[in-house]
Point group: C2
Chain length 211, copies 2
């Protein structure tokens, strides 16, 4: 018999999804600042207080789906080949994340474009995104150090990851100056953007001394 998760768990998950759906819809429709916690809770048919037992803050609900993307990168790093250099696995990890974004971005993950628009238009959300990015970099660095224990110390691993992610993130920002550009970005061919991001990777790999 498939015991599976009990009713309690299932209900919890349903509420969680309802909150996320309500939040994304409202953010999209009215904007982030114009949507209150009370609105979101009402949209999911729970009390406002309950919202905070699912998400610690209004911003966090936008990042409910980011962990698996990071897991993807971890998996790539953990599967290093014996001939791989740190840069190889890192670039491969980065490529895997890009590819996933390209494949699923528009169709499956409604959160992605909404979040991206908020990141570029709402300061508080941008701050949270950057914080999570930094923490992700630290975890990536730890993983990279573990994969190459005698080639990279902890601090050097942080520098390596920081250089790569820094180049990509800052490039991304220079491509999107106005929030409207996020929509254009998801509407058309993602090729040109990905090409620019690949250039950023090259800059980090070859070193800024090469420019």
């Amino acid at each position: 018999m498939t015991t599976g998760p009990g009713l309690r768990e299932r209900k919890k998950e349903r509420t969680r999804q309802a909150l996320i759906t309500a939040a994304l819809g409202l953010f999209e429709e009215r904007g982030y600042d114009e949507t209150t916690i009370a609105d979101i809770a009402a949209g999911a048919d729970v009390s406002a207080r309950t919202f905070f037992s699912y998400f610690p803050s209004k911003e966090e609900i936008l990042f409910a789906d980011t962990e698996d993307r990071l897991a993807l990168a971890f998996a790539v790093i953990d599967q290093r080949g014996p001939e791989d250099a740190p840069v190889d696995v890192l670039v491969r990890a980065m490529a895997a994340v890009f590819e996933r974004a390209e494949q699923f971005g528009q169709v499956f993950d409604r959160a992605v474009p909404v979040r991206l628009r908020m990141v570029f238009s709402v300061p508080a959300v941008q701050g949270m995104a950057l914080q999570r990015m930094l923490s992700a970099q630290q975890r990536l660095a730890a993983r990279l150090h573990a994969a190459f224990p005698d080639r990279l110390d902890r601090v050097e691993a942080a520098a390596v990851v920081g250089a790569l992610v820094g180049a990509v993130v800052n490039t991304m920002l220079s491509l999107v100056q106005a929030p409207e550009q996020v929509d254009e970005l998801f509407a058309g061919d993602p090729g040109p953007v990905l090409a620019q991001l690949r250039r950023a990777v090259e800059v980090a790999v070859a070193g800024i001394g090469a420019s």
Copy 2:
């Protein structure tokens, strides 16, 4: 006759300084979250409402002194020599900022250690710091592009700056895992920390492919 700034301006500046002083003192003494706007305003002998006509938010008062550090970097970039490569001026700019931190950090700028401690202990402040960092990188990139118009396009300049700053920031974070370490960092010899940061610069310059 030294016209100078009128009484109105001087008073405004005095109030501004009083607010900053009160805020730093209270943050240091009680902590950030434990200090309310009302406390800060009381410490500067103004109404709480007035606080917001000087600073748009509680976080911003911690960053009242950051603009001149950026100006230092700008100045270095603007004074590029005819033989300089982008990496030369960037590294020089970074060194100038480090040096200034080394010289003045403990003695003159009380804001620096306080802010740093808050950055590492208060999420909201960290978010704001990262946002400002990102915006600074964009401005640096624009300046770098202007200094090397035919060697770096706008996007590539962003990648270059991002790689360098990313390496340094992530290294910094990996050196300071707990907020208490900020105090150790400012208490002892800054040499070892600066050495690590220099290694981060080298990683960015030589490229992560070299590690």
